[in-house]
Symmetry: C2
Subunit: 460 residues, 2 copies
């Protein structure tokens, strides 16, 4: 019987534990969880604040009872403090503050990431009780919920306009708050090209969000009139005050445990693992937001995503039991709903592809989600990136109204990236068509044809 | 300068003409169209009858003016009657009834298909003026429209429960008519397995359609009380009377012109072409519903679909100008909206795969379209077929509520079929996720995992 310990109650740790129990029900599996909320959907938190998800308990992918019913043991409110690699023992601090050593045959570390503070002065000293929030755990969720309920703040500054920032802007607007969104770059949602990010910004401003791009936040302080955020905007100093500040400027890998145990750091200062999720430390595996990401187009990078964590966790759980499964690699597929708009991407953008050595070219295109004669057709806006040498698809970005099936249209590109298809091969794809839901050449094919036309060699 | 003639104003002929003009604007292109409605979306006709599409002119993918603006010449109401292959001349009957010979360098035949009559006695003698209809052209559309408007029929029998039959059932119900749908097989939409077809039938009956399966129609006659359809149901004779009868029991390839010119017939008595759309007759190409279909899993078959016709037409247009493009093959991807349900399939079903020599196994699965905690989640019902030898995906069927992105989820399977992926590789696909639109393992991956689990070899 294998004694397996997984550290982390989020996607990677739970996926590893589930997979191990699924593959070999004789495996003794313990999951060490720092809080008391294992297997919660962190991606769902913004929808708790919009009021669409209630109660908060429903954010659990599985309840603790569900997890225990699979035969795993949960150690909640238990913090992993050290790994004795040679001795195959994990030291944890129990809820009672006692340190305890747990023996393992195989250890899977899924300690994830921590919110980045982006070097903002004053941020470390401010807490939810001051009205300054991050949103990365259920604890953060309860703190923000409490603040919103008790203080009834009327205005919020959101520092950052990535996925969570945009979703939280929607949540605050839904609650009737005034929202200012500060973004360092020239456009919101910097994972998209600005041409498409501008469509997302329009959606935000249409719904009342004040968007301030080109703004670098350098400090936050509590003042008599509220919380004042200071920084520079287009080189000029600026200050803005609100009742509440939410800082959502990305994450950094939480590597302390594995670093102390002797693991190496790589891209993004995340822990280096191989495609089998081996850390290089005997019997120690790792998965999730704390490790480097193998990317099919980039090699090793750092790209923390829940979908990737699920895959890596599943692989770590399998390999820890003697399996030989390799992580096939991410292509960085992502999607976000912003009010009534959906924005998605997969693969590389032009500058990313060029930086990685591809002969990239990128075009902009638009095509209706379904036949225009049928009611409710809307354009989907595309950016398509391909290699002008071999014609290979390198990436796609899509923005369309909710209901235009953008989220699953990006999956066609993601599947094509996985399979290494050329953009020309999109002409060969046998995609579904009925007038209310598509076109004889689907929008994704029309976008691909636009790239091919722009990059065609003379045929005849 | 190449003189190119395309016969047929529907998907194949127009696609060929457009492609030729696009590739080489010096090409002289004439399209011979039997009626005066080139480039109409036949798939959209049911939505004219629901009232969602108006006026009928909006069903045109492009207007005649749009087409002529590309530089092609349209010969409307002109019927191709004979091909002189050796002399490279096409004989046509003009709108004035005069026969005229047109010289060509290259000829592309896209004469499509004709409605099947399925051997129903009396059908040949009955016309739209009697209240008996087919629906395959704009002429059929006008005839039905006229009948509905002038006679105001209150009841309809639809013979057939395929795509068009189901869409027309919805249209008639929307117009307040009583609808009886007769289907030969054990379940409606026989392109799906009965397990999923039953969901479609439930949707029909919920909306008031009387569905009669297991019924073979042998005759239609005009009686004092209306139109009486007779046949057998589960071996017993039956008769049913209504004000209007619509016969939609599939199509047969319209091959007369090419047969007379010496072309060979193959699968489904359709004209044999190679992957380059060559008929074997010098300088004569063919595309669309009149020809055999190259299928990536089946080889040569007959599977008329608009999406395929567009691809074949485009290829014929390119190759007629000296190109060397091969049709990559269909995988039979299809989708239909039936009231608030969407049903899709791609690839092969179990019995089709077994008949084709694959070691097929098929499972049923269901998975939510998005995280259940977010409002509006609905299950998608799957049938997944794979090869138990090499694990290769062979087919997928999906049924879900409108809005569950079934139409574009089937495209992930279609793309995987194109690329020859195994079902196990679905675990590797980096598909998009946000709680309102998906799950960390997308529904298509959960369905694939269900197949893998049911067909797993012991791993550990």
């Amino acid at each position: 019987m294998t004694h397996l310990i997984a550290i982390g109650g989020s996607d990677a740790g739970i996926s590893a534990a589930l997979r191990a129990r699924e593959l070999d029900p004789t495996t003794d599996v313990t999951v060490v969880v720092a809080d008391e909320y294992p297997n919660f959907s962190i991606c769902g938190i913004p929808y708790y604040f919009t009021g669409e998800v209630a109660p908060w308990q429903s954010l659990a992918h599985r309840t603790s009872a569900d997890l225990e019913a699979t035969g795993m043991r949960l150690r909640l409110n238990t913090f992993a403090t050290g790994i004795d690699v040679a001795g195959q023992r994990l030291t944890v601090r129990t809820p009672d503050g006692i340190f305890e050593d747990l023996a393992y045959d195989e250890l899977i570390v899924g300690t994830g990431a921590l919110p980045s503070h982006a070097g903002i002065a004053g941020l470390d000293a401010l807490t939810p009780e001051d009205g300054v929030h991050v949103i990365h755990s259920m604890g953060d969720t309860f703190a923000l919920d409490h603040d919103l309920t008790t203080r009834q703040p009327q205005s919020a500054i959101i520092v950052g306009a990535g996925y969570v920032g945009l979703e939280m802007a929607e949540a605050f607007i839904t609650r009737g708050m005034q929202v200012t969104q500060l973004q360092r770059g020239p456009e919101v949602l910097s994972t998209l090209d600005p041409e498409l990010g501008a469509l997302v910004r329009d959606e935000l401003t249409t719904h009342g969000v004040e968007v301030v791009t080109g703004s670098t936040v350098t400090g936050i302080e509590k003042t008599p009139v509220g919380l004042t955020v200071t920084g520079t905007r287009d080189g000029q100093p600026f200050a803005q005050t609100a009742d509440l500040v939410l800082v959502v400027v990305g994450v950094r890998p939480n590597t302390e445990l594995l670093e102390q145990a002797g693991a190496s750091l790589g891209a993004g200062r995340a822990v280096v693992v191989d495609e089998h999720m081996r850390t290089g430390l005997p019997h120690v595996w790792a998965a999730g937001d704390g490790i480097i990401t193998h990317h099919r187009l980039l090699g090793a990078t750092y790209l923390p995503l829940g979908t990737t964590s699920h895959k890596q966790g599943r692989i770590a759980g399998e390999n820890a039991l003697g399996g030989d499964r390799a992580f096939a690699g991410s292509v960085g597929t992502q999607v976000v709903k912003v009010f009534d708009l959906v924005a998605a991407r997969t693969g590389l953008r032009d500058h990313e592809a060029i930086a990685a050595g591809y002969a990239a070219a990128t075009i902009t295109a638009a095509a209706d989600d379904h036949k225009r004669y049928y009611p409710g057709a809307h354009p989907i806006h595309f950016r398509i990136t391909g290699d002008t040498g071999d014609g290979r698809l390198l990436g796609a970005q899509l923005v369309g109204r909710r209901g235009t099936e953008v989220a699953k249209r990006v999956d066609t590109f993601a599947t094509a990236l996985y399979a290494g298809l050329t953009i020309g091969q999109f002409d060969d794809l046998d995609l579904s068509y009925t007038p209310p839901l598509g076109s004889p050449w689907d929008a994704v094919q029309l976008a691909a044809q636009a790239w091919s036309a722009a990059n065609a060699r003379v045929l005849v």
